[in-house]
Symmetry: D2
Subunit: 251 residues, 4 copies
C-alpha cells in the first residue's frame, strides 16, 4: 500500500489531544509549541500515524496532511470558497494529476491549494498585492511547489499566456470579461468553471460564456445542509453553507 514512513522534507501535521494542530517539515529545526518543543529531526523514518513526544513528554500524532487540513489552517483574506463548491468544480471539470490549470482571483488561495493537491501545475492571478502575498504563505504552508501565485491583472496578463490549459477557474467580480480569453487559452475539450456569489454576476458570466462560443454550459447552485442525528430523531439543520453559483462551460 502507500508508503508509510516519513522522509526528510515531508510536510507533517502534528496532532495533540484537545485539538491543537501544527504543520511542520520532517528533518527541520525544533518546533516550539504550547505543549513543549518537538525535535523535527526525529520524524525521519517514523511511520505515518505514530506518536512523537515533546521535551515535556506531551504526545503528538504524526499525520500526513490532507486538503481539508490546509483549508482549515489557511489565513483568510475574505470569505473563501467552500468545499462543496470546490468539490463540484473538481467533479464537473474532472480535475486530474496531469492537468495544468489557470486560476484567478486567488483570494486566500483556498481553491488554488485544493487544485494544487491534485493537478500537475496551477498558475493563479491576484490583483491585490496583499492578498497575493497572503496566498503565497498559505501555499507554502501546504508545501505545494506546483502552485504559482502571480500578482497582476488577469485581463492584461492573459494575452501573454499561450496555454493550453486543461481547466480555467475564475472567482472574481469581472469574470465575464475574462471569459473570451479563457476560451482562447483552453485546450479543446477543456473546462471553464466560474464562481459567482451574486445572481447578477452569475447571469452575466453565463451570458458571456454563451456569446464566447463554448460548446456546453450549465450554471448550478450547490446547497449543503447538515443532517442532525440526535436521540429524538433525525432532521436537517437550519444552517446552510454559503451559497454561490457555478458556471461550468466546455471548449
Amino acid at each position: 500500500m502507500s508508503s508509510s514512513s516519513i522522509a526528510p522534507g515531508d510536510l507533517v501535521l502534528l496532532w495533540a489531544a484537545g485539538g491543537r494542530e501544527y504543520f511542520a517539515v520532517a528533518g527541520g529545526d525544533k518546533l516550539h509549541t504550547d505543549l513543549g518543543i518537538v525535535d523535527l529531526k526525529r520524524l525521519e523514518g517514523m511511520e505515518w500515524g505514530s506518536t512523537i513526544e515533546s521535551h515535556m513528554g506531551k504526545p503528538f500524532v504524526v499525520l500526513k496532511p490532507r486538503a481539508p487540513d490546509f483549508f482549515k489552517h489557511m489565513r483568510r483574506t475574505g470569505a473563501p470558497m467552500m468545499p462543496k463548491d470546490i468539490g463540484a468544480i473538481i467533479a464537473y471539470t474532472g480535475v486530474g494529476p496531469s492537468d495544468v490549470i489557470l486560476d484567478a482571483g486567488t483570494g486566500s488561495g483556498v481553491l488554488a491549494v485544493y487544485l494544487g493537491t491534485i493537478a500537475k501545475k496551477v498558475i493563479t492571478y491576484e490583483s491585490n498585492e496583499q492578498f497575493a502575498s497572503n496566498a503565497r504563505k498559505n501555499i507554502e504552508l501546504a508545501g505545494l511547489a506546483n502552485v504559482e501565485v502571480r500578482h497582476g491583472d488577469i485581463l492584461l496578463e492573459m494575452e501573454k499566456l499561450e496555454g493550453p490549459f486543461d481547466v480555467v477557474t475564475l472567482d472574481m467580480q469581472d469574470a465575464a470579461a475574462v471569459v473570451p480569453g479563457a476560451l482562447r487559452v483552453l485546450r479543446p475539450g477543456g473546462f471553464l468553471a466560474a464562481y459567482s456569489p451574486f445572481f447578477e454576476q452569475a447571469a452575466e458570466t453565463r451570458r458571456a460564456v454563451e456569446r464566447a462560443g463554448f460548446s456546453e454550459a450549465d450554471t448550478i447552485i450547490v446547497g449543503e445542509q447538515e443532517l442532525e442525528v440526535g436521540r429524538r430523531g433525525t432532521r436537517p439543520s437550519t444552517r446552510v453553507g454559503h451559497t454561490g453559483f457555478i458556471t461550468i462551460a466546455r471548449k
Copy 2:
C-alpha cells in the same frame, strides 16, 4: 505546458458535430462509426484538439477524455452517484494523487472511476457478480489500470485487508456494518465517506461512526439546482439532482 501530442496507447475521445462521441485508443485498429471508418494509427503524433477525418471525409475533434466523459459514457446498472456528491466526497476527504483508496459497493463504478482519475490506487468491492463485471468494462473504457474491481462481500473480505488506506468510500445498504472495519484499515488522519440514499440508512451509518470511535463526523445533504438564464430573467430550475446523504468521518 502539458504535453499536447498523442502517443500510442493514449485514450482519446473522438467528437463529431451533432453530439456523436467515441472513445478509442491511439495506435489501435480501425474504428467503425456511423460517420465512416477512422484509422486510429493516424492519431499517433497528432496534437490534442486537432481534427481527424473518417474515410467518408467526416471530421472528428480528438480530445483527451476527462472524468465527466467517463461519467457520461459508463453503462449504468443502477442510479449512479452524481457529480455534486462525488465532488463533495473528494473535497471533504481531500483525495489526492498519492492516495490508496478502498471502495464498496462498486455499482456501475462511477465513484471508483472518478477516484481512479485522481488517486494512486483504488480497490473496489462489489457483491453482485454482474455489476462487478459491468464495472470492470466501464473502468477498462476509462483506461484506468489503477482501479481494481473485486467481486466479493466487503464485510468478509475486509478482515484480510491490511491497509493502511488513505480514504474508504462506501455506497452500500449495510454501510453501518462495515464502519468498524473501515476504521481499522484507515491510516490515522484518513477519512471515511459513506453515501446513503435514505434517511434511515444515513442515521444508522452516522450512529455506527460515532460508536466506532472516529475523531470527527458530519452528515451532509448536498443539493443542486440549475440556474436558468433566459431572456426574461434568471431563475432556479424546478429540477433538482438526486439527493443523498454523505457521512464524512476522520480517523
Copy 3:
C-alpha cells in the same frame, strides 16, 4: 359543529369512484355526467358527505368544495402560483375574514380565488382581456361573489382607488412600478406581497419597496420537496415545486 345539511344554492363537489369530480349547485337543473344524470334538486336537505345516485345508479359522494378543489379545477392561462407560495403570502400578511384585498395581475385567478375563500372582498386587476374573462369563469365556478375581476391597467386604475386595503398582492412583471401606489392605498399596518418568478424582478421590486418607504421588508424563496416514504426507506424527491420570490412589506 358546522352545519351539515345542504341548502339551495350551495356549491357542491360530486365525487365518483375513479377520480371523476363535478362541481354543481344544489337546487339547480340536472347534471349530465359520464356516469349518468344527477338530479341537483334532490341535494337540498341532504347531509354533506352523503351519497347521491345518478339515473344509472352510479354513486357520487357530495362534498363541500374547499380551496384546493378550486385550485385543481381552474382553467389555467399560464403557470399558476403554487399553494406553498399562496400559503406563505396568507401567513406572512395574516389574511383574515375582515380583509379587503387589492390584487393584480389576476392571471388564471388562482391567488384571487384562494384569497376570496378567506377574505371579505378581493378586487383583482388583469390587463389581458382574455385572461380576465377566463378568471371570471374560474371565480364563478368557485361560487365566490366577493371576488371582482376588473379588466384594466392597475398602474392607471390605482389612482382612482381610495382604499384603504388591508393587503395588496402583486403577481405581474411591472410590480416595482406599482409599489408606490400600493403604499398609498394600504391601511397603516397593512401588507404588500409581491411575487416574482425571476431574480432580476425580485431585486427590482425589493428596491422599489425600500425606496417607497415601507416600514419592514423581506424577500423570501419558498421551496418545496416531496418526501418519498417507500418500503426501502424515506428520501426527498428529486422534483421541486416551481420556485418564485416573494417580497413582503408592511406599511
Copy 4:
C-alpha cells in the same frame, strides 16, 4: 371599503417609533408604557391608522393587529411552527371562515391562533397543563374567543368527540397514533395536516395515514431562504427557516 373607525372592545396594536409595540383594548383602562400613560377610552371612534399620544406627548400609531403581530408577541414554550409551514397547512387544506378545526398539541398556540384568525371555531388539545395555560394567555392576547384550549390527552378525549371537523391539525410526537381517530371525526372531503420535526416521525405518520385509509396523502418539506438584496448584488442568505415535514391527507 373596510370600516375604519374603532369600536369599544376592539383589539388594537399601539406602535411607537423605535419598534415599541403594545396590544390594548379600545375603551379599556389606562395603559402604562415606557413612553407614558395612554388613555384607552380615547381610542373609541378614532380612525384605524391615526395617532394617539401618551400623557408625555409621545405618539403611537393605532393599528388593527394581524396574525403576524400575534405570532411575534406570543410567549413561547418551545420552538413554534413557522409561518411558511402554517401557510402551507392553510393552503393545502383550504382553511376558510366556515371551518371547524380540531388541533393537537397546542404548544404555545401559534398554529391555533393563526387558524383562529380565519376559521369559525378551533378546539385545541394540550397534554401539558403549563403549556395549555400559557397558550390560553396567548389566545386571550389575540382576542380570539373562537379558539378553545382543552387540557387533556387527545388520544383519550377524541373518542368523546363527534365532529364532523373540516380540518384536523396535529403537531405532536404521537401523531401517528391519533391518525385513525382523526379520520373518524373528519367530514368527508376534510383534511388532516400533521407536522413532524423529524424524519422518523414523518415516515411513521405517513404510514399511519396510508394504513388508516385516507383517499390522498402527500408529505412535503417546505424550505425558506431569505434573498439578500444588497448594493453589490442579490444572493440567497445562509440562514434557512427551521424545517419540518408536513403530511397532508384527505378523507
